[in-house]
Symmetry: C2
Subunit: 209 residues, 2 copies
């Protein structure tokens, strides 16, 4: 009977408690004692398994990053018409962000804090694949549409991800801004962002001053 939930051995419990707490409050605000308490373990045991607080943090971060890219890749496999493909990409990215908020916060904090040294590694190992996939999607959609290109696919990926990430991190603030009701209406939000992206691709060089 005990096959479905794998009984969660000690190490995994520590990992999950650490992921939750680091995601919620950040590296410095969380102590090993907190993690040990939530994991139902002892401080010494954490050092036994992970060596140091920093090593635990990076272990948790790496795991979060790996799981994130898997989910995102799944969300973009379908072959539909442009409107539906873009919509699906928005929804997929949004799902990844919201289905495990602690993980998302953990990763974004790492991006913010990373100096020039670690930024390149992050770009290659962590976000590169997702960004490329999204860029390809926009390039495909533009190529299949005779109207006009003229808009960089990678920049459209930037706009999509920016908007979603901002919605995720700031939606408690956004919902209280005048006209910020979209923060609580996911479908309306997705439709609006989809329209912004599709219109950007289709309209031609009419905006040149």
């Amino acid at each position: 009977m005990e096959n479905a939930p794998p009984a969660l051995d000690g190490v995994e419990k520590i990992r999950r408690a650490a992921a939750d707490l680091f995601g919620e409050r950040g590296f410095d605000a969380v102590s090993i004692a907190h993690i040990a308490e939530r994991a139902g373990s002892s401080k010494a045991n954490i050092f036994h398994h992970f060596g140091s607080k920093e090593a635990l943090y990076f272990a948790v971060l790496r795991e979060a990053v790996d799981r994130s890219t898997d989910h995102f890749r799944d969300a973009m496999r379908a072959e539909l018409d442009p409107s539906q493909r873009v919509e699906r990409a928005i929804r997929g990215s949004l799902t990844v962000l919201f289905e495990d908020p602690e993980r998302s916060r953990l990763i974004f904090r790492e991006i913010m804090e990373s100096g020039p040294c670690r930024a390149e590694a992050l770009a290659n190992e962590v976000f590169g694949d997702d960004f490329i996939a999204l860029t390809r999607l926009f390039a495909d959609v533009q190529a299949g549409d005779e109207a006009g290109q003229g808009m960089s696919p990678s920049f459209l990926a930037h706009v999509l991800l920016s908007s979603n990430v901002m919605l995720f991190h700031c939606h408690q603030v956004l919902r209280h801004l005048p006209g910020g009701g979209y923060a609580d209406e996911q479908e309306r939000y997705i439709t609006m962002l989809r329209d912004v992206l599709l219109r950007s691709m289709r309209a031609q060089k009419e905006t040149n001053a």
Copy 2:
């Protein structure tokens, strides 16, 4: 001779040191001892003037927020054609973000960390005015353009701010992504974002499935 630089009294030195350090590393990673050292003062003196670490943090945060809104408001006063007005709004927001990076990080961290309780206060006191101004700008531009409305001005403000904030916080990562060269070319970035926003406003209901 000592009139132009106001000699920076002790309290102001503390405030600046705290703003720099809190912006760089966040609340928990910075100790009063660090701040005292950078300010050339003593721990006890900081408590003498501010009472507690939290009070110092909030004082610094409030000051950062006030200065931020002032700058932003200045950047949007001009009356030009739609393309130039949108471009100016993008540039203004970008300038505010990059001209004092520590301040910007401080504020954004507060948005991320703020629970539902403090989020409403932040929305009203801090970002409300800027967001309203930006929303009005898009509403104006759309009204003056006969082509079509159909796109929520507040959502366009969201897209503009999201894209800029993301560029600011992640540009060390973005520049290393394939096609992410725009992260280092501000003028190209501004042009692309302007086009995305203008096209979104002008194109009509052609995207409805």
